[in-house]
Symmetry: C2
Subunit: 114 residues, 2 copies
Amino acid sequence: MEKIDAVAALAALAQDNRLDVFRLLVQAGPEGMTAGAIAEALDLAPNTLTFHFDRLRTAGLATVRREGRSMIYAARFETMNGLLSFLTENCCAGAPCTPAASCKPARKRVKAPA
Amino acid sequence: MEKIDAVAALAALAQDNRLDVFRLLVQAGPEGMTAGAIAEALDLAPNTLTFHFDRLRTAGLATVRREGRSMIYAARFETMNGLLSFLTENCCAGAPCTPAASCKPARKRVKAPA
DNA sequence: CTATTATTTCGATATTCGTTGAAATATGGA
DNA sequence: TCCATATTTCAACGAATATCGAAATAATAG
């Protein structure tokens, strides 16, 4: 990950509500979560939430897909992984630290088949 | 590390010049570096630099000490370590990921004895 | 088509941010 | 003491940020 992308990802996560959103997306796993469910869980106005989603997407930390009337957002673990690698490398500055952080999706949540 | 501290640390690192400053501090190791040396290395105005140092210090990512006319700034690896732990935990959401990132100071730079 | 639900877009606003220039402060040297 | 060096403080400024209310858009149900 390039420095410019790391800064973008850091900035995306450096906000209270947005960090909560991302945490929720991480917990939701690759399946993702509807904007409405997140709005309800965090008690955020839908337009405010859209603003935060845009930030996360621009930083490469989230993806969207439409499903019926709902927009389903999901975390991009790959980018988070890249950020952790960047920070670990730049924190340890060439010294042989721990192998580097790694980020994998939470266990796939089993949903009742629709 | 609490969420509020993580947000503070993320925000402190989420800025181009400030991230450069921190990277430089990390490379300098526990010995630290004078404000002037950093200003020269990054071509930043001294007052701008003071502003960024304040942010890093408030976030717990740097410390200062005076030495003669110079102020010597050093990275707080402990806080960086805490941030990496926080992100790793909140990224993997309970799933057994890699042991967690760890951040140790870079090898002590051997300076020619004054 | 009309109404309802889910989300986004737009405009406004208060706040915070990063940078600058000028002046102040602190330390050490002549 | 007077001067140079190193850094901070202060005031100002434009730009970006986070939030809100109102209106617009997309999709489905009736």
